[in-house]
Symmetry: C2
Subunit: 210 residues, 2 copies
Amino acid sequence: VRISELSRASGVPLPTLKFYLREGLLPAGSRTAPNQADYDDRHLHRLRLIRALTDVGRLPLASVREVVRAVEDERTPLHELLGIAQYALDPTVPTRESSPDEAGARAEVDAFIDQLGWRVSADAPARHALATALLTLRRMGWDVGPEVFERHAEAADRLAAAEVASLDEGASRAESVQASVVGTVVFEAALVALRRLAQEHHSALRYARD
Amino acid sequence: VRISELSRASGVPLPTLKFYLREGLLPAGSRTAPNQADYDDRHLHRLRLIRALTDVGRLPLASVREVVRAVEDERTPLHELLGIAQYALDPTVPTRESSPDEAGARAEVDAFIDQLGWRVSADAPARHALATALLTLRRMGWDVGPEVFERHAEAADRLAAAEVASLDEGASRAESVQASVVGTVVFEAALVALRRLAQEHHSALRYARD
């Protein structure tokens, strides 16, 4: 199809499409005439991926480029590719040296994940986020270890297993990354919202008078 | 104790303490001499609450003041008080009129929560967040209803029940609010981090070669 039709089909405005082409995020169409090119389903899938990364994942353009490059490079195994997209969603881990408290919390979190038997890279940013959560509890006067998150780990394990199982076997690399990124961002937001609603419900059961 | 000792015990710098006193967030100590006042455990608890709301909940000062006022006003029932603190943590719901798509998603989410049998106020901000999550999935081409969040609702229900049950029966109003706010912010962050770690684990089980 022509670029104007690609714009209609994808809902992406024409100037934005041209920007993606210039930036190399969207591969050029096959030339059909000096001033005309043809676009197909691969372009549509790529656009869905880009929108998922920018609009849903809120990734900066540099990270989008990195993920798109990994999608294109068939030597990047799918598991690694999903990891690149996943890690790009996480806020950057501070590079300054950690305090003894921080290093201690991190070591406890690492041991906790080992105990769970999870296969997770040593530099997964979420390890750092979990250590920060533990430290915050301690600073607020809660004398607890990572076991305080045991129920949350069980719930996370069940949910992630179901989400990964639901990924389509025949999906392309771009589709798999898109599903993984949208799933992460949207299901996280939904999970947080549902936890708050459930908390109000259980608080009402315990405290409300009527 | 004197204000300098209150500063040491709480870890809050003296100028910040004086700021809280001026702003009425911290009640004045009982005067023991023209230029000296005495502070007690209630002041320490209040400071922990303020730090939880500002440092952990990242609430603006106006919201902190609102929560503190509700803690002080004994006519505000505890359930309502926890609701005030909880809703303050949520981003403000846009007041512009919603599109037909948005209104439709919101109605579906409301029906879904009814089906769950949850006692949740009609203006809980998390209802809006859940409708936004549903809309995002649809915009990304997933043809789904709120049932797609069923597993997440079950997990949220279990986690919230355990968290509310763990609140101390004999806690003061300030302590209950502090525990609820810290719990919400920290356990949400932990849950999100654990979901990402679990996703990497299950992705490794399914896709990694070794």
